[in-house]
Symmetry: C2
Subunit: 198 residues, 2 copies
């Protein structure tokens, strides 16, 4: 703390988490450069002075949003895997879930952010790296467990196999944007599961 707060005075009116959620949805859809400050304050239902007072400028807000996005996704990944019947089942669920999300027309904010800004923005790059590392480690651990339990018999380097899996999934997003073809995505998902399972 830089200053000691002697008097509490007025409190912030808006719910910060709800506001971040709303801002995230706008950034997710329109991208960073494509989103104006008006788009944001309209969605967040706050005045720009409140935004600059509490969160900061456009870039700081974006950082908060992408952190929120990755945090929610990591939590969902853990939760979903905990429900799986076995390590292999958790991996195939992950792949099938990815297919479902994509063919329902959803995009991925992390992927969009990677291509739009991460190359020129170390702060965002680090957040995406951390998120990617988490997913990577999580899946690799599941594959290792599946092998220990005899569910998988492959002897490929699990590090590379996981990298492969995570990269593939980014390409599916692009494929669906371009071709809008659910069958293509479903077939690739099935092919990937077969390949891992052999």
């Amino acid at each position: 703390m830089l200053t000691t707060k002697l008097v509490m005075a007025r409190n912030v009116e808006f719910n910060e988490e709800e506001a971040i959620q709303k801002a995230m949805e706008v950034f997710w859809k329109k991208g960073y450069s494509g989103t104006s400050l008006r788009d944001l304050t309209d969605a967040m239902k706050i005045n720009s002075s409140s935004l600059y007072n509490t969160i900061g400028d456009k870039h700081e807000l974006f950082v908060r949003c992408i952190k929120h996005y990755t945090a929610v996704r990591a939590a969902e990944l853990k939760k979903r895997a905990a429900l799986a019947q076995s390590p292999l089942n958790a991996v195939t669920n992950f792949i099938n879930d990815a297919v479902t999300v994509i063919v329902e027309g959803n995009s991925c904010m992390a992927v969009k952010a990677a291509f739009e800004i991460a190359a020129d923005d170390k702060v965002v790059q680090d957040i995406l790296k951390e998120d990617n590392d988490f997913t990577h480690d999580f899946l690799r651990s599941l594959i290792a467990q599946a092998r220990e339990q005899g569910e998988l018999t492959g002897d490929d380097d699990p590090e590379v196999l996981t990298d492969y899996l995570v990269s593939m999934y980014t390409g599916w997003y692009e494929s669906y944007i371009i071709h809008q073809d659910p069958i293509r995505i479903k077939k690739m998902g099935q092919y990937l599961i077969n390949q891992i399972s052999r």
Copy 2:
């Protein structure tokens, strides 16, 4: 033609292809929304009135640029494949070339455009679809030839295998932006070649 040109009058001073090339480089680096008209006219070394007179507005210019990008890439793909010693060799060259381009720090304008604008822009989407179809058909044909000549013995659906290959390659771009790790990309390239070759 809407009007018959009775008098030639003054000719356009600037070289249109060179100007498109310059504009393409700016869009490629900064994205569509991130590029201003002044960025463009500065790079193209023309006045905005000349731009609007000959090419059109910002969106039309972008369309010209992305068309130029895909056309050049398709020509390079054909040229490179023609030099290969065999169909399988052409495919492995394709993969190794992709790895080299990525680890040298280059991005792909088509991939960036797909995530930034193709979802909301049918014109751009169609251009990217056409480009993707070309690459897809080209690689699938090479895989089919390799099988006919006995270079490959796999019996996977070549359609899915090619889709897989093209999707993978998009993920590598993201991986390199996030991790900046050449070894990861090289390992994935090698793994993909092994997998196709089996």
